[in-house]
């Protein structure tokens, strides 16, 4: 187990280095001179030269990469062009809001997705199963930003039950979290249904039933537990989906998190802030995937023995 964890950690290092390099490289892709774009066309020659030097853009790429990495190791992501504040501080301000939103959405997706999936699998082709399958098809097809706006029209503007946007109370969290969770909820329900259905066909389930184990125990202990691995794999992927979807949900609900910061940074042409935010998003995702991989080993002892 420890050897497996160690090897898995070791494998993450090149990915992290690569992600850092790729993020640094995005500034190279920008057509034209990024510094002039950032400062606007009325910037003086001196200020352009100053920023270029401060960003190290006058140095060759490998030198810059090493510089970037060593700054990163010290938690220094540079200063945002607009506000002049350290990027790390700007990100630290908004990061908790995105964590709150995505965690809430993940919890909703897991709880209701697994529940709906298990019930569907226990009574396949029933009325409930039909409804779940139809709704999950719609859940996968609705664009997150549109769902959010439609929920705002319904529950905030017409019924006036919930706030239109912003943050502060638990009531503010309800609509954004539901909006963000729907596509993942649909995926989790589908995956749970199919993997529980598959497991329930196994011989050991028949044996358990034959020896008189109660049906609830058969489904929950033997069925769901063995269906866990594909569900956990899916959850790892869904976290990526949720982090990406957060950009849209936060924009719709004026939720002051990382996603809105990214959109703001793009429109302000604040590439330093943007780089920092995208890097943090990607690193968070790498770490989460690492945790998912390690948790397989906990669910299934066979994994660590490979």
């Amino acid at each position: 187990m420890f050897l497996y964890a160690f090897r898995r950690l070791l494998l993450a290092i090149p990915v992290i280095l690569g992600v850092t390099f790729a993020v640094m490289l995005t500034i190279e892709l920008i057509p034209g001179d990024p510094v002039t774009l950032m400062l606007g066309e009325y910037a003086t020659k001196e200020s352009v030269a100053h920023v270029r030097q401060a960003l190290g853009l006058d140095k060759p790429l490998p030198v810059r990469y090493v510089q970037y990495l060593s700054n990163l190791a010290r938690g220094d992501l540079g200063r945002s062009i607009r506000e002049g504040r350290p990027v790390s501080q700007e990100l630290a301000d908004v990061w908790p809001e995105t964590v709150k939103l995505t965690t809430a959405a993940l919890v909703i997706a897991v709880v209701f997705g697994v529940l709906a999936g298990v019930i569907s699998a226990v009574w396949p082709n029933s009325f409930f199963d039909g409804v779940v399958r139809l709704l999950s098809l719609f859940g996968l097809s609705m664009p997150v930003f549109w769902t959010g706006l439609t929920l705002i029209i319904l529950f905030s503007l017409w019924l006036q039950w919930l706030p239109v946007g912003g943050t502060g109370s638990l009531r503010h969290l309800i609509l954004p979290a539901i909006t963000l969770s729907l596509p993942s909820l649909a995926m989790v329900a589908r995956m749970t249904r199919s993997s529980v259905l598959e497991v329930l066909r196994e011989d050991y389930i028949r044996t358990a039933r034959a020896k008189g184990v109660r049906e609830q125990i058969v489904v929950l202990k033997h069925g769901l537990r063995n269906a866990c691995i594909p569900i956990v794999t899916l959850l790892g992927l869904q976290v990526g989906q949720l982090l990406g979807g957060a950009v849209l949900t936060e924009t719709v609900f004026a939720w002051p998190g990382m996603g809105r910061l990214i959109v703001r940074a793009i429109f302000a042409r604040d590439y330093i802030l943007l780089q920092g935010a995208i890097l943090v998003f990607a690193l968070a995702f790498v770490v989460i995937n690492l945790i998912v991989d390690l948790s397989y080993a906990a669910f299934d002892p066979r994994v660590s023995r490979q």
């Binding site: 090149p14 990915v15 690569g18 992600v19 790729a22 993020v23 995005t26 500034i27 892709l29 920008i30 057509p31 098809l137 719609f138 996968l140 097809s141 609705m142 664009p143 997150v144 930003f145 549109w146 706006l149 439609t150 705002i152 029209i153 503007l157 589908r190 995956m191 199919s194 976290v239 990526g240 989906q241 949720l242 982090l243 990406g244 979807g245 950009v247 849209l248 924009t251 990214i262 959109v263 793009i266 429109f267 943007l274 995208i278 998003f281 990607a282 690193l283 968070a284 995702f285 790498v286 995937n289």
Partner: protein, 283 residues
């Protein structure tokens, strides 16, 4: 090729028995026809402004209402089909092309090439969902072409992985080994013995990724990073109605239904094709 056509007829029969799959096929055909016949179907010029009737709710004159510039929403949705399908098809084409190149290189050559490509993929897959597309488009700038590129690059890793896995599983099969042993050139082995075997998988994934590509394009355009006004893009249309949610909700809600219908169509068709072409993959 008697056996081949029998297999195909069998798959076709399985497909037709699946009601949802047929609905998906009908929706997708409807979208294609709408895109092709847009100038004939649209009652108005999609960019013609009629300021006195701005934000008119759905009614007799404008069936689905008018937007904030008094443009006919129905006509804009009809022309928007072109953007959605164009960006979707070309980006899936890009992803498929690059995926075939890297997937086959990686799977068939193995060794250092495989290791390099696989690490590269892991790096791209580390960017959660929309973020990769956002990163590309923020660097390249907005517009139809850059949006298509961004969506294509976003979808490429998934295609490469699927193709690599298929090539890996096929290249050790007895008949492929036999072909290699008697000296069939690599190109011919790939074209004649390996590619046909994962063609069904590719068709299924391309269809399902069309749904995703349409969603990603709509999302980028909604954020203002994708297709730019005055081009009629569904995501952009949803965004422009945001300031009038209370007084004219139809500007936002109706174009969203078009996105949903299109995505639903490709999802249903993809699921149906998967069940018909490759019963093993069924979920």
């Amino acid at each position: 090729m008697g056996a081949g056509s029998a297999v195909r007829a069998d798959a076709w029969r399985r497909f037709l028995r699946n009601r949802l799959a047929v609905i998906g096929l009908i929706i997708v055909c409807g979208l294609l026809l709408t895109a092709i016949l847009a100038p004939m179907l649209a009652p108005y010029d999609p960019s013609k402004q009629d300021l006195p009737s701005k934000r008119t709710p759905p009614g007799k004159r404008y069936v689905l209402g008018a937007d904030e510039f008094g443009r006919d929403i129905l006509s804009r949705i009809i022309y928007g089909t072109r953007v959605a399908l164009l960006v979707g098809t070309v980006s899936v084409g890009i992803a498929l092309g690059l995926g075939l190149l890297f997937g086959i290189l990686s799977g068939y050559m193995g060794g250092t090439v495989d290791a390099l490509i696989s690490r590269g993929l892991e790096i791209l897959l580390a960017f959660p969902y929309l973020l990769l597309a956002i990163a590309v488009v923020s660097a390249l700038g907005p517009g139809v072409l850059n949006t298509t590129l961004a969506v294509g690059i976003w979808a490429m890793p998934a295609f490469t992985r699927i193709i690599r896995a298929s090539v890996l599983s096929l290249k050790d099969l007895d008949y492929v080994q036999a072909a290699r042993a008697i000296g069939v050139p690599t190109q011919a082995i790939l074209l004649r013995h390996i590619l046909p075997n994962f063609l069904p998988t590719l068709i299924v994934y391309s269809t399902l990724y069309m749904a995703n590509a349409i969603l990603v394009e709509a999302a980028l355009s909604f954020l203002g990073l994708g297709v730019q006004p005055p081009t009629a893009s569904w995501g952009l249309m949803v965004a422009t109605g945001r300031d009038f949610l209370l007084t004219a909700p139809h500007i936002t809600t109706i174009p969203g239904l078009a996105i949903m219908l299109a995505v639903l169509g490709f999802n249903l068709l993809g699921d149906g094709l998967r069940d018909a072409l490759d019963p093993k993959l069924r979920t």
